[in-house]
């Protein structure tokens, strides 16, 4: 588990403030996502999880504070330089963000066609393999409007990972999925992380999956972040975390709690 201070954060936010209209969404958010680890961002609706994703992608600029990706401060980076950084990031948006004028195949093939020198045969093989890995077959010729919400997001995940980026940001990968596909996507994400050493940042409401997968948990509340391991999260006596866990608690959580035994865990929440 990786909570040691001074570790190699591939993505880090430092004292980030952001206001949307009259609402102060982030109030000095500081957190880091370690290289080659799975970090899960938890928090209630509207706490700024998707905003955090957009900040890391450079799609939203903070009012104040610093966002570092792969060691570079992207806060005041030009759009051209941001495009260079983004080639190292794959992002799954909450709504999928597939291009509705293109077929599933063309959507997944798009980043390869734009940024690689692969032949069409190699692209076809890569796309098929990625679609297989997210549990989709015989959908290549369909348009996004012909897919269900869950299938849509799985195609978008295939597109996000098709170039094997070093950082993958995944916004709510489990919402709208049946339990079998939750397990499948969870296994895929873990495999990607373990096999390719991808730095994975996942926002989720799905506590059971989060606890199973996470090396590190970032709990967002009141526009700030509390970071730690799953064990320290479960052991925390912070009222806001306890309330969230109580509300989200399910059988898997209890199984997890039973498995890891009684706490105190080493190192408290930061």
């Amino acid at each position: 588990m990786s909570t040691e201070p001074g570790q190699d954060f591939r993505v880090a936010l430092d004292g980030v403030y952001l206001k949307r209209g009259d609402r102060q969404v982030l109030r000095g958010l500081s957190c880091g996502f370690p290289r080659g680890r799975i970090s899960i961002v938890l928090g209630g609706s509207g706490c700024g999880k998707s905003t955090l994703m957009r900040l890391v992608g450079g799609l939203t600029r903070p009012d104040r504070g610093i966002v570092r990706v792969a060691g570079e401060d992207i806060t005041r980076m030009s759009n051209r330089a941001l495009f260079r950084i983004r080639e190292r990031i794959g992002m799954l948006f909450q709504g999928g963000a597939l291009l509705d004028s293109m077929t599933v195949f063309d959507n997944v093939a798009l980043p390869l066609r734009e940024h690689s020198k692969l032949s069409e045969t190699e692209i076809r093989a890569a796309v098929s393999s990625r679609l297989d890995s997210v549990g989709l077959e015989q959908v290549e010729g369909l348009y996004p409007r012909e897919l269900s919400g869950g299938m849509n997001r799985r195609v978008a995940l295939a597109r996000a990972i098709v170039t094997d980026p070093e950082i993958v940001m995944v916004d709510e990968p489990f919402s709208g999925l049946d339990p079998v596909n939750v397990r499948r996507i969870e296994a895929l994400l873990v495999e990607l992380n373990r096999r390719l050493g991808i730095t994975l940042v996942v926002t989720s409401h799905h506590l059971a999956s989060s606890l199973r997968m996470a090396d590190r948990i970032v709990f967002m509340v009141d526009g700030r972040a509390i970071s730690g391991t799953p064990e320290t999260l479960l052991a925390s006596d912070d009222r806001r975390i306890v309330e969230f866990l109580e509300a989200e608690k399910d059988q898997s959580t209890e199984q997890f709690t039973a498995r890891i035994g009684a706490f105190p865990a080493s190192g408290g929440m930061e």
């Binding site: 495009f83 983004r86 080639e87 963000a97 597939l98 291009l99």
Partner: protein, 259 residues
């Protein structure tokens, strides 16, 4: 009471200048993306199909109707002076110099311009443009450029079709319904219109209209709010702004160059 009004005026003026500046930068960006590789020919052809081929029926039908009305009105007026032999010239000149380019532009704004704005605005709302950005693909290059260029290219072609169908409408009414001689209709048309002085300037004017519609529709879509009301505002804004701009530019071009 007067200060808030002045403040409001100042604020609105500032917003207007700000949006004009934004529009200028956007336009330059589109031109730059269209001029530099990668050239997205396949996407351009798809957009020409969407904007052009799908507008064919509405443009042809409207052209035919406008030509028929012009034939009818022209004949009714000219017959009072015994000059009904000039129906072909009246129909032809008014279509080539004025009505063809302007009415086609208004039709394209309603059909293809609004659709372009709505499509891009929907892509903003559903984060498709952000998705492209995250794949390091510039949405101006990938989405906006081909659409704007397609509107620029289809405008003169659709105008030419509009004029041809309108001339056929004028012929139907003047010759087949009102009894004018067919040879007279075409002779007066041929003597009144020259390729260099009338048709080339007219088609140049349509290129200006095409550029206006292309840039305004894509700009309104691209800068829309990511909400359903943003999509609706982009669509309405495109129709209103582009229509007014086409009419204003039509006057300016005609006044300055007599086209």
């Amino acid at each position: 009471m007067r200060l808030p009004a002045i403040e409001r005026l100042g604020f609105k003026s500032q917003l207007f200048v700000d949006s004009l500046g934004g529009f200028a930068i956007f336009t330059l960006n589109v031109v730059r993306c269209a001029a530099l590789p990668p050239f997205r020919f396949r996407r351009f052809v798809d957009e020409v199909f969407d904007a052009g081929v799908l507008s064919l029926s509405i443009v042809c039908l409207s052209g035919f109707a406008v030509g028929a009305v012009l034939g009818l009105q022209g004949y009714d007026t000219l017959v009072r002076f015994g000059a009904e032999a000039n129906v072909g010239a009246v129909v032809g000149l008014s279509l080539v110099k004025e009505l063809g380019p302007v009415l086609t532009a208004l039709l394209v704004i309603g059909r293809a311009g609004s659709a372009t704005a709505a499509q891009i605005a929907t892509m903003v709302t559903t984060e498709q443009l952000d998705g492209l950005r995250m794949m390091s693909i510039d949405p101006v290059d990938f989405v906006v450029g081909p659409k704007a260029l397609a509107l620029l290219v289809v405008m003169p072609l659709l105008t030419a079709l509009f004029i041809i169908f309108a001339l056929a409408g004028g012929y139907l009414v003047g010759v087949m319904l009102l009894g004018l001689h067919g040879g007279t209709y075409f002779a007066s048309l041929e003597s009144a219109i020259t390729f260099a002085d009338d048709i080339v300037p007219s088609l140049s004017k349509t290129l200006v209209f095409g550029a206006l519609v292309g840039f305004i529709a894509t700009f309104r879509g691209y800068t829309s709010e990511p909400t359903s009301s943003g999509v609706s505002a982009a669509t309405t804004g495109t129709v209103v702004t582009a229509s007014v701009c086409v009419l204003l530019f039509d006057y300016v071009i005609t006044a300055l160059w007599g086209i």
